[in-house]
Symmetry: C3
Subunit: 109 residues, 3 copies
């Protein structure tokens, strides 16, 4: 059994949860916030058998689209907030950041 | 040291947190959402010594009750949302879904 | 690659996220609640290379201050809620509670 943690954009999260549900993956959704852009995003927690991890990753890949976007980060990275003029930078957003964690034991009571 | 993640129903969460606290388990609560029913639930994070895991699991088992409930899932699993008439199905809710994760290191600063 | 989970006080969280961002650590923020004091706190999720873990821990240590505070826990630890007079106790708050978890695999799609 593995625990998959997938950080995706809010607008991909329902589509992705339903796509995983259709293939009988069970999921739990956490509302989270990106450390850099300080925007809301979603972390999906998916516990599944070892041999199903690749299928889950495939579904995650297909249902979270990657693209470029001009953004201005909200807060200064060090230095004085007054003199900070947010310089728009081009970042890749969307897509998914995925951690696969080992599990020692799984129970359902 | 292990990290226990227990997904329980909101209405069991305070009772469970207090029951764990009485036995000196420290816990952190995450507000989460079920992927299938899309209802709010609670994920408890409990870091504890290896030899205390069984006690924690026992407390989790005793304080989260399992039962059957007729529900209609909110969103279509694939297909067109208009033509979708939610067919009530009988699911088991309540209870706890529990992952026990290995920990490499634990610090308190 | 390791996944660091750091539970810190809300008022340390922005300073800590920015301090980690300055050193190019990527982070995701979870709004959480302390099991004992039932007050909001923050859990930061930081995925980083094995050899960067010590740097991350150093930054976490420097940016979350530990101190003593008189508090009255909100709910009774067992027993009857009516007869419960919250006895103020002195607890150490602030600081950080940090779990370092092993990761099997990391992907970005
Ligand atoms: N110091 C920096 N300098 C320049 N650009 C930076 C940067 N930190 C982040 N970015 C860029 O901004 C995007 C959004 O980051 P954010 O931290 O808000 O939102 C992140 C964060 O919530 C999470 N994430 C990514 N890698 C992570 C990691 N190693 N650990 C924990 N969370 C991570 O996934 C979200 C999307 O990440 P993604 O890499 O696709 O996209 C990132 C990345 O392209
Ligand atoms: N392997 C796993 N990984 C991550 N999180 C997990 C998990 N297994 C369970 N959970 C979490 O625990 C909640 C309760 O799951 P349980 O299996 O008791 O109760 C479930 C189950 O009896 C039923 N169910 C879930 N998915 C189903 C599906 N595809 N078809 C039919 N019934 C489903 O609906 C109940 C509520 O599900 P919901 O997703 O709203 O809420 C789930 C989900 O948040
Ligand atoms: N092993 C663990 N697993 C999961 N999460 C953990 C954890 N250890 C700490 N945490 C998280 O970190 C927060 C701060 O813990 P700390 O030990 O610094 O500071 C604690 C501690 O000094 C004290 N405390 C906690 N439980 C206690 C108990 N049963 N009796 C007396 N004091 C307690 O109250 C402070 C606030 O506790 P609170 O639960 O509200 O908030 C906790 C909890 O959210």
């Amino acid at each position: 059994m593995k625990l998959i943690l997938a950080v995706v954009e809010d607008k991909d999260s329902n589509r992705l949860t339903d796509a995983l549900g259709e293939k009988d993956f069970k999921t739990t959704k956490l509302s989270t916030t990106g450390g850099f852009l300080k925007e809301g995003n979603t972390t999906l927690m998916v516990g599944c058998n070892d041999d199903a991890v690749d299928d889950a990753l495939e579904i995650i890949k297909k249902n979270s689209s990657q693209r470029e976007q001009m953004v201005a980060p909200i807060s200064p990275m060090g230095g004085n907030a007054d003199s900070y003029i947010p310089r728009p930078i081009n970042v890749e957003v969307g897509g998914a950041t995925v951690f696969v964690l080992p599990i020692d034991a799984f129970y359902q009571f």
